[in-house]
């Protein structure tokens, strides 16, 4: 196995980490999805440490609230108890989980040890089975996932780790910088490792892989694969980001200054070698021989560094050199405490007829299983409750005035419900990005935004272009841009802030004061200063070859003109310029008198050459959609949600986005399926396409007959305030506008009611106004609850769930299995897009809640934006993955209820089976990273997929 293969074998332990500007929710244990959920969590815990389930107290309070039903807990308990022959003690097991487990740690008390006798048999049994008796195994377990410098620090009280990690972070943060600084690192185009060689003056001819090999040999690393993993885990946020960019060729920063995980490893190992070389113990061979002769000292120091040594042993370490005696006392005390814990627990269960040794095994089993048992019982309770609600018959008026298709998100649930209650309106939920992946270039912006899930690379580029005069806008925008650029340069330059603070610092004071004390008025003032964006449309149709050629030619000729004016005195006529262009771009003979230096400059400095001509043509070929593609996207959307006939007068397609101030995590609140951007462009594009006569004709040929008076109107749902804004309403005539404005009023009423409901759950929100202030308050760490609370997805007809108030906790995807084909293509599409994104969102919230330190980003209060790619704590730390505490926790208590995605599908079992088989989500579905529940109304059965099989959980009447 080569060095690279060894690195590749372990790199998936850390997930991709996308730049924060396009925050993508992700499963932090993505690399474990090939294993069953429960086993994967055990493995992850052994690697990352931390918690993978909530603590027993949390579940017990849910049990007390009735959110976990006793019958589910008992049923789930039976499985492990049966497996280990304890099935006769279900009642006691339940009692243990409810009453004794929360007190479990308190039984391990030194005070209690003084007044209780320890049972000798139990003590001997525990001693024989403990790791303490095998010192080598103990050392191995204590040094697991520790680098050489960490072990050295622990043994000899050095602080190499701090220096090494600081150096690593400083270098990579500067190299990976995405225009946060005005003084960028030079020579980044050479690549991460080659630039590093220049900076650290490393005399090495080969690439990063050969350098890594060299350092590993110097450090005498035995198990290279394991050591790579150890190093990756040290700063797994940074490693995850480097991994992401190295695997995404289209990421522009990666194209400009490439980096690989091997480069990162070379940097880490270089610093390790640099610092450790100064120490006496500077490779693993010397370390192991030292450990061999100082086993007791090593164990004690490692325990001390991990904070596992209590004060009395720390005192003893300070006072005496007899480490053997100290370790002996420690082991004795530990086993005594373990015995005491079991004895006291047994005392609390007097009815249990088991010996102390049997009881010890019984308790160990329960402690090992309890997290999963509680989790599953909580999920099962919800599942039964939901299934009962989904299967209770309901019927609704079938002739609504409008059908609103919401871009899928839990936050649209309340709004949809309130909207349906407010009048003759029906709603649909369609997979985020609305099934139309586009690379969008906003008017007045130069970069492309990929509005599609991170796993999909859009093939079609859509430009937003103005349809009305915009000179005033351009002028104002120009001033704003210059102002921002000057301020940013002054702020980020290392020298200017000294003068700037004195000279113009007070200007910022106005904004600071205003935003703090008068957020509404300040916001209104700054909004007034913003230029009004002109009306725009999108470039949706493909360009013909002739058009493409003409555009590229025009672009080139403009550049030539510009160059001739600024760099040369040569005056060429238009035909001559054309001839010059033909020479440059088409390699034709040059029939114009012009300096050869200028021609060379145009070719190489300004890239007017045949290669660029072809490249530009290829790029332009991606602009817009073919007619067939346009038809396909509308057809797919309508089929996917089951809206193929009985069209309402208005079909509203609503994207969504969020509003907040001073929030690096803002994109986490936008559309996750649109790469962390708002999904309005997708909605507008689809509406524009669906309103075209020729498209409707083609749709009619495919069996979807949309009457000509039906209008598709795009809208935007602001999730922070639940306001809905409509776009492109100028296509409506006077009569339609009148009906539309009545409908708009109902939408406003629905928004009001949705806000009312949502405000109850949001801290510091007493009235509706507070919700709006949160969007402009720069000190607000929680502008909305976002996706916190998400717990499931329902794919089926809206009528089955319209009557249930989910309080923004379920993704409601409209789906009609009766129009799906035999191959279950529609459901497969739902699995491949919305379900994948839903699982990422769900598990990101799950893990950020169960252990925010390990899987989350910690408190926002300590965050600083680094290199414009993420946040870290203070001056340097790991790149913070996951969600901040403010997104999932309130006042120290979990707001988000961590459960796996409860995935309800109203479809025949066979259809679901086909979709699972064909889907890219197959791995995580079958490995139970979600909880699949199938409501098969044809077979009149409800199935749950658990422990590898479909179990009937309800028979329908």
């Amino acid at each position: 196995m080569s060095i690279l293969e060894k690195l590749n074998a372990v790199k998936d332990t850390v997930p991709h980490y996308w730049p924060i500007g396009a925050f993508i929710h992700h499963n932090p244990l993505k690399g474990f999805e090939h294993i069953n959920f429960k086993e994967a969590l055990d493995e992850a815990q052994s690697i990352f440490g931390g918690q993978v389930y909530m603590k027993p107290d949390y579940y017990i309070s849910l049990f007390d609230e009735g959110k976990i039903k006793a019958e589910h807990l008992e049923k789930n308990l039976l499985k492990p108890l049966k497996e280990f022959g304890f099935d006769a003690f279900t009642k006691e097991a339940k009692e243990f989980m409810l009453d004794i487990s929360p007190k479990w740690d308190s039984f391990r008390s030194y005070e209690e040890l003084k007044i209780n006798d320890i049972d000798d048999t139990l003590h001997t049994y525990l001693e024989e089975n403990s790791i303490f008796m095998d010192k080598e195994a103990w050392i191995q377990s204590l040094t697991k996932n520790l680098t050489l410098y960490e072990i050295h620090d622990a043994l000899f009280a050095t602080s190499d780790k701090e220096l090494i990690e600081k150096d690593v972070i400083e270098y990579i943060a500067r190299f990976l910088d995405d225009n946060q600084t005005t003084l960028s690192m030079a020579d980044r185009d050479l690549g991460m490792f080659n630039t590093f060689k220049l900076y650290e003056n490393i005399d090495h001819d080969g690439d990063s892989e050969s350098y890594v090999q060299k350092v590993l040999e110097k450090l005498k690393v035995k198990d290279i694969e394991k050591y790579f993993l150890t190093h990756i885990l040290k700063l797994h946020g940074w490693a995850g980001f480097i991994k992401y960019r190295s695997e995404d060729d289209t990421y522009y920063a990666q194209q400009d200054h490439p980096s690989t995980l091997m480069d990162y490893m070379a940097i880490r190992l270089h610093f390790e070698q640099k610092y450790i070389a100064k120490e006496k113990i500077n490779n693993f061979d010397i370390l192991y021989s030292y450990i061999d002769t100082h086993k007791e000292y090593t164990i004690l120091k490692l325990l001390q560094s991990k904070g596992k040594l209590t004060g009395i042993y720390n005192d003893a370490m300070e006072d005496t050199q007899d480490y053997k005696e100290i370790l002996g006392a420690y082991v004795k005390d530990e086993i005594n405490l373990d015995s005491l814990q079991i004895q006291l627990a047994k005392k609390s269960l007097p009815s249990l007829n088991l010996s102390l040794i049997e009881f010890s095994n019984f308790v160990n089993l329960l402690k090992k299983e309890e997290g999963f048992l509680w989790l599953k019982s909580l999920e099962d309770t919800y599942i039964i409750e939901h299934v009962n609600a989904f299967t209770s018959p309901q019927s609704y008026d079938k002739k609504p005035l409008s059908s609103t298709i919401f871009c899928l998100d839990v936050r649209s649930e309340t709004m949809r419900r309130k909207l349906e209650e407010s009048g003759p309106y029906e709603t649909y939920g369609a997979g985020g990005f609305l099934g139309i992946p586009i690379s969008f270039v906003e008017f007045d912006k130069a970069h492309q935004l990929n509005l599609a899930p991170a796993v999909i690379k859009p093939e079609n580029i859509v430009f937003e272009i103005p349809v009305e005069a915009h000179e005033e806008y351009n002028a104002k925008q120009g001033i704003n841009k210059t102002y921002k650029k000057v301020l940013s340069d002054l702020k980020n330059n290392p020298y200017t802030p000294y003068i700037m603070v004195e000279a113009i610092g007070w200007i910022f004071g106005i904004k600071l004061f205003g935003k703090t004390f008068f957020p509404e008025k300040t916001n209104a003032l700054f909004n007034k200063m913003k230029p009004k964006k002109p009306k725009t449309t999108y470039t949706l149709d493909k360009l013909t070859n002739m058009e493409i050629e003409a555009y590229v030619k025009k672009l080139h000729i403009n550049i030539i003109n510009e160059v001739l004016i600024t760099l040369s005195d040569a005056a060429l006529s238009d035909p001559q310029i054309e001839l010059l262009w033909e020479h440059l771009a088409l390699d034709k003979e040059l029939n114009v008198k012009i300096s050869s230096i200028l021609v060379e400059k145009l070719k190489y400095a300004y890239h007017i050459n045949p290669q660029d001509y072809e490249l530009q043509k290829e790029k332009l070929a991606h602009v817009g959609f073919t007619h067939d593609e346009q038809v396909m996207y509308v057809e797919n959307l309508l089929n996917m949600i089951g809206l193929v006939n009985n069209f309402s007068k208005f079909v509203i397609i609503s994207g969504h986005g969020s509003l907040s101030d001073n929030n690096p995590f803002e994109s986490a609140l936008d559309c996750g399926a649109c790469g962390g951007s708002i999904s309005l462009p997708n909605a507008r594009a689809l509406c524009m396409i669906a309103n075209k006569k020729e498209i409707r004709q083609k749709l009619k040929d495919k069996g979807i007959d949309i009457p000509s008076d039906v209008k598709f109107i795009p809208a935007m749902h602001v999730t922070t305030t639940d306001e809905i804004t409509f776009y492109d309403t100028d296509i409506l005539d006077k009569e339609e506008l009148e009906i539309f404005s009545t409908m708009e009023k109902d939408f406003k009423k629905a928004s009001f009611k949705a806000r009312e409901e949502r405000a109850i759950d949001l801290p510091n929100t007493n009235e509706q106004k507070d919700l709006f202030i949160k969007t402009m308050d720069w000190s607000e760490p929680r502008p909305e609850w976002g996706l916190a609370g998400n717990m499931g997805v329902f794919a089926g007809p809206r009528d089955s769930c319209r009557h249930i108030a989910f309080r923004n906790r379920l993704f409601l995807h409209s789906y009609d299995s009766s129009i799906d084909n035999k191959n279950a293509d529609l459901l497969t599409r739902i699995f491949d897009g919305p379900l994948v994104v839903g699982e990422w969102i769900n598990l990101e919230h799950y893990f950020s809640t169960v252990d925010n330190k390990v899987y989350g980003a910690g408190s926002k209060v300590y965050h600083n934006v680094v290199s414009k790619i993420g946040v870290y704590n203070g001056n340097y730390s790991d790149l913070k993955i996951g969600l901040p505490t403010q997104s999932v926790i309130t006042e120290g208590e979990a707001y988000h209820e961590p459960v796996r995605l409860l995935t309800y599908m109203e479809a025949p079992l066979e259809t679901v089976g086909k979709a699972v088989e064909n889907s890219i989500a197959k791995d995580f579905i079958l490995n139970e990273w979600i909880r699949p529940i199938i409501i098969d109304k044809e077979a009149k059965k409800v199935y749950s997929y658990e422990y590898g099989e479909f179990i009937v959980i309800k028979e329908l009447e």
Partner: protein, 244 residues
């Protein structure tokens, strides 16, 4: 000469704690009380028989002080730390005139008594006064964190606590020479270093997941609050002295 020698011993200018630590004849907290008692006795003696500064004794105390600084930077036990700080400050007490010496000693003893109470609380809550594994207390036990921060800030000679003000007062009232200046600088930074080192490992740092943190009881809180008030009152006295 004899009285100077006695004062050197009573003001903790001789590291007699080594004997008790080695023989274990006294517990750590007993060593603290013994040195406190001797210091108080020394102050009284010094007030009755005022002495001129004796440079050889100051230098002997300073040597002992440097050794104690080394010891203080090795220990993670709060009881030990309390008497090490006392011994470390011995040269100052010998250098200063009796009036200044009394005030500085008083503020030092009060602060160290606060530290002693925190050590007692550690012993009760975590089995020992050793803070090695008990980091991040500001987050986990905010009251204990607050009071420990206060005592350590005072020991680090930060205003407005009396130690810093009375330290300054002592300097202003003493006839200084190059050696004394040097000693003053070392003691000043030494106090800061000792306190900063403890702060980094106790009030700051990551909380230890292996420990069940327990905060101060309401009785302890009241006691600490009273102590802090007394310290602040002493600050006012010190400030008046400095301004006078």
């Amino acid at each position: 000469m004899l009285i100077n020698f006695i004062l050197l011993f009573l003001f903790a200018g001789v590291p007699y704690y080594i004997y008790f630590e080695k023989t274990k004849k006294l517990k750590r907290e007993q060593i603290f009380f013994l040195s406190t008692f001797l210091l108080l006795f020394g102050i009284i003696l010094d007030s009755i028989f005022p002495q001129e500064i004796s440079m050889p004794f100051v230098i002997v105390a300073f040597m002992s002080s440097l050794f104690t600084l080394y010891q203080a930077n090795k220990t993670t036990n709060l009881y030990k730390l309390a008497y090490y700080v006392l011994f470390f400050n011995a040269p100052i007490l010998i250098m200063f005139k009796p009036e200044q010496s009394v005030l500085y000693a008083l503020s030092l003893l009060l602060t160290l008594f606060g530290l002693y109470l925190i050590a007692k609380y550690y012993e009760r809550s975590y089995g020992s006064a050793n803070y090695q594994s008990v980091s991040g207390i500001t987050l986990m036990t905010p009251y204990a964190g607050l009071f420990l921060t206060t005592y350590l800030t005072a020991l680090a000679l930060y205003p407005p606590f009396p130690n810093s003000i009375l330290f300054l007062h002592g300097i202003l009232a003493t006839d200084m020479n190059a050696i004394l200046y040097f000693i003053i600088v070392v003691i000043f930074f030494g106090n800061f270093l000792i306190a900063a080192r403890v702060m980094a490992k106790t009030v700051f740092g990551k909380p230890n997941d292996n420990i069940h943190y327990i905060d101060l009881t309401s009785k302890e809180k009241r006691l600490h609050l009273a102590l802090v008030i007394v310290l602040l009152m002493l600050s006012i006295v010190g400030l008046k002295e400095v301004l006078a």
